[in-house]
Symmetry: C2
DNA sequence: TGCGGAAACGAACGATCGTGCTATTCACGT
DNA sequence: ACGTGAATAGCACGATCGTTCGTTTCCGCA
């Protein structure tokens, strides 16, 4: 039978469970180190039973990225929409982003950043998906920056693309400081960098 | 026999050859994806013959990082020493850094950045080595920034740690733009970010 | 209640992983 | 020139990788 929208069958439930756990592991060990065998054992499934849900490992990786992308917009962009257009919303996006990267629970860092470094010299659908998401992220940052300019929170002559790049750079450096270096000062340092950047663009 | 300094035996020569090629591959595929079998085949050696030089894969990875570190100081920091203390030297370091990341030859990006993302949630000597190098990199950037302050090129009240963080962030974002996104505009954008940062700290 | 298809399993495959052993080849000092 | 230790090769090991196939279990509808 061909179902239409909600997809609530038993298979879809475990499939969701698999992707959810796979995202956690991929965040910790990297999307490339994600292995079907250990993932199946971790979930109490058989290797072949898990594999049957996706016809290939690459498909699993792509669904993991898809889930991560939807989580990102849900945890970073959406909550910021309640803030007023302009600097408040921009700051909320940045703060949520820091929280997403740190993610005090078991999740380990932004899976896209790790995947971006892992796949930057490879080819294939995984790489394409990461590139695509990065473009959307950049577009989102640019849009928020433009609104801040329109709101008069930033000078009218700021390079919105450059501003988005700089914010992204601060987030990347924060990822290093918080996760690799495990610096307790990473959050205030990142916030300070952000505020300095905003200050330098203040009208 | 225990030799002292120059180490010119046959074994050391091939050992050097191995590490050199291993660094190239690790830059392209990632330090974790580096495999002894394919590396041996690539060099025309037997797997066991190559393995005998290092007693473990981890040791090989550590020597690769060591070689990368010495390359970095040789290509990024040392050439900048001919420039005058202050902003000229700082700018030279940044430019050399961009060149190191892009590295128009077969080498693929900064192996430390990739390793940093790959090992940020693992434990072991490789992680320790990456952390150690990152600290030294930060110290080098801070030192160059301090000299720029002393030279009067930057305001006396700038947060040198924060400045170093921001420069590092710009370089990280450039890595993404140049390698993953393959943007031809990555270099001028990174330079523009750097100049904006300097401008915002000008006396 | 029974039936049909979806879902999960068990076993096996070829390949490759890192790592030990032993044997062979080579370079070099006496 | 020879003998010796370093350097490399050959082979095998257990483990694990992604993937396939055939079977079994289970859910949901008639």
């Amino acid at each position: 039978m061909v179902r239409a929208a909600p997809e609530k069958s038993k298979g879809d439930a475990t499939r969701e469970r698999i992707v959810h756990r796979a995202l956690e592991i991929a965040s910790l060990e990297g999307l490339g180190s994600l292995t079907i065998g250990s993932l199946a054992e971790d979930l109490g499934l058989s290797k072949s039973g898990l594999f049957a849900h996706f016809k290939s490992k690459e498909r699993l990786q792509l669904e993991v990225l898809e889930a991560a992308a939807s989580n990102f917009t849900l945890e970073v962009f959406h909550p910021a929409l309640v803030k007023a257009r302009g600097l408040p919303r921009l700051r909320a996006i940045f703060d949520n982003w820091l929280g997403w990267i740190q993610s005090n629970q078991s999740r380990g860092g932004c899976v896209f950043i790790a995947a971006a470094m892992e796949w930057d010299d490879r080819e294939g659908e995984v790489r394409d998906a990461v590139v695509d998401w990065m473009q959307k992220l950049h577009a989102g940052l640019v849009r928020a920056t433009e609104l801040a300019v329109q709101a008069g929170d930033l000078r009218a002559d700021v390079d919105v693309d450059g501003f988005a790049n700089d914010v992204h750079g601060i987030a990347l450096k924060y990822h290093l400081g918080a996760r690799l270096m495990r610096l307790p000062t990473a959050v205030p340092e990142a916030r300070a960098s952000f505020e300095r950047l905003v200050q330098s663009c203040a009208p």
